[in-house]
């Protein structure tokens, strides 16, 4: 009775399983923000058409994206945690860090603004005021690039926020915005996700335009010595692709139609000193 579906099933397994030897696969480890924004859904098919390679995009927190690449489990990585990236470069695990684009983060909070930070120019000063007022603040708490930047801002403010008003969501940007909205709390969000969530949450932009709130994305290649089967050539091809003039223009135009403003600013060829 079960023999025929079993044979059919095994046939199906063979159908969906790829050939064991795939040399033209490029594994890209990146952050959830690039995937959530929809940018990769545009760029990856273009790269595949151009090179005939297959890209497997793994969107995780920046911490994990870089760790995977450093272990040789990916061929190229698109991340936004400059300090951590430089550490891997110094260790020789990742190579050839080049800036790709930036977007900016904003401090958002409830309309009532209990800590009175609306219009504050300095993100660090705003955080200090939130702490003074013991106003609720939701942190990603997930080791993502946004989370790492937030922790850096607390350090610069000379504070260790581990008190009752500081909530760690342990989730992505979208879920964190939802939590902040529900608890009438402040949080740090990338503008792209905030725009996407704009109509769902009652949070308002409180602080923007601080240079420390720039979210800088870099592409890094993987040292083939990190592990077996690293496709270094494929990783380099993706890095060259995303830095090319044509794709930088695609990045510049991305999101304009949907949100009336660009989500990312392309900066290929610039250095950290130019943007910070």
């Amino acid at each position: 009775m079960l023999v025929r579906p079993l044979v059919a099933g095994l046939g199906l397994v063979c159908l969906v399983a790829p050939a064991a030897a795939q040399s033209r696969v490029v594994i890209l480890s990146t952050t959830t923000s690039t995937q959530d924004s929809g940018l990769l859904d545009v760029l990856v098919p273009m790269f595949e058409r151009k090179t005939g390679s297959t890209v497997r995009t793994i969107a995780v927190g920046t911490g994990q994206a870089l760790a995977l690449a450093a272990r040789g489990e990916a061929d190229v990585t698109l991340a936004h945690a400059p300090d951590v990236e430089r550490r891997y470069i110094a260790e020789g695990k990742l190579l050839n860090r080049r800036l790709v684009m930036y977007n900016d983060l904003v401090v958002v909070g409830p309309e009532a603004d209990p800590a009175r930070i609306r219009g504050e120019k300095s993100a660090v000063a705003a955080l200090r005021r939130i702490a003074d007022a013991r106003a609720r603040f939701v942190s990603r708490g997930d080791g993502s690039g946004t989370n790492l930047l937030e922790l850096k801002l607390w350090r610069l403010a000379g504070l260790t926020p581990a008190r009752s008003w500081y909530i760690e969501s342990g989730q992505g940007m979208g879920a964190t915005l939802g939590l902040a909205d529900d608890r009438r709390a402040y949080t740090l969000a990338d503008r792209a996700t905030y725009l996407a969530f704009g109509r769902r949450v009652a949070l308002r932009v409180m602080v923007e335009g601080d240079r420390r709130l720039l979210n800088i994305y870099s592409v890094l290649e993987v040292d083939p010595a990190n592990g077996p089967r690293v496709n270094a050539a494929g990783g380099r091809a993706f890095a060259e692709f995303i830095l090319s003039a044509e794709i930088q223009q695609v990045i510049r135009d991305f999101g304009v139609e949907k949100f009336g403003q660009p989500m990312f600013v392309p900066i290929a060829g610039r250095t950290d000193l130019d943007v910070q």
């Binding site: 969906v16 995009t57 793994i58 040789g72 489990e73 979208g174 996407a196 089967r229």
Partner: protein, 232 residues
């Protein structure tokens, strides 16, 4: 409330408009979880039957392990299958990670103990005297097992439903070993998490309605087979 209604409307629109991506996700979920269920049956039914009929030292321990395996957390399975399939892992040479095949492997690990455990219970329900009688009447061991399995086929269909239901709805393992790669390993559940994260709640609702309908249809088909054989 308007969001929920909007989600229902969105679901109908997505399907009627023949949104290729949604159909592809639906098909992938069905193919992956269907394959995983079939492989689990191929492994779980013989294993469960053998455990029910054969006595050997340490059997109690194995049965306990199978029963515990019925509650294996999918994230745990996802983590270990990922480590095994990593390039640096023991099966890295197969380059299976982030492919549908990897999801099937993880789902088999989740579903096989469910099928084995429920088969074990189903076969043990058949009275021992019945088996002895069959042998006394001159049936070979193979014939005896075949007849016993036929007797136990109704509860075993429940095993199929439990196994399929477990894997089509799990998310932890699919996300970790599949990577939620668009057009390749994005299943209904991983797409739902992604769309929720993006704030596209209407699409997420549409996908969850599709998943519910899919699970219902599959179980309806299996139930109608089961109840037809069960008689009035």
């Amino acid at each position: 409330m308007d969001l929920l209604l909007g989600g229902v409307r969105q679901a109908v629109t997505l399907l009627l408009a023949g949104d290729g991506e949604v159909w592809a996700i639906l098909w992938l979920s069905l193919a992956v979880s269907g394959s995983a269920t079939l492989v689990s049956l191929a492994v779980g039914i013989p294993a469960g039957t053998a455990l029910a009929l054969v006595r050997f030292p340490g059997r109690g321990l194995v049965v306990s392990a199978v029963n515990a395996g019925m509650g294996l957390p999918p994230v745990v399975v996802g983590l270990f299958v990922t480590l095994v399939l990593w390039r640096s892992g023991p099966l890295g040479g197969l380059e299976l990670l982030y492919t549908p095949a990897a999801i099937i492997v993880a789902q088999v690990v989740i579903a096989a103990p469910i099928v084995a455990g429920m088969t074990l219970a189903a076969v043990q329900q058949v009275p021992r005297e019945f088996r002895l009688q069959l042998l006394a009447l001159g049936a070979s061991r193979v014939q005896m097992v075949w007849v016993v399995l036929r007797e136990a086929r109704l509860p075993m269909l429940a095993a199929v439903m439990a196994g399929f239901g477990g894997v089509i709805s799990e998310i932890g393992a699919s996300l970790m070993v599949g990577g939620n790669v668009k057009g390749r390993t994005r299943t209904l559940t991983t797409a739902m998490v992604l769309e929720t994260g993006k704030g596209n709640f209407d699409v997420a609702i549409a996908l969850s309605l599709l998943l519910l309908v899919l699970v219902f249809l599959v179980n309806w088909a299996l139930t109608s087979i089961q109840q037809r054989h069960a008689g009035p």
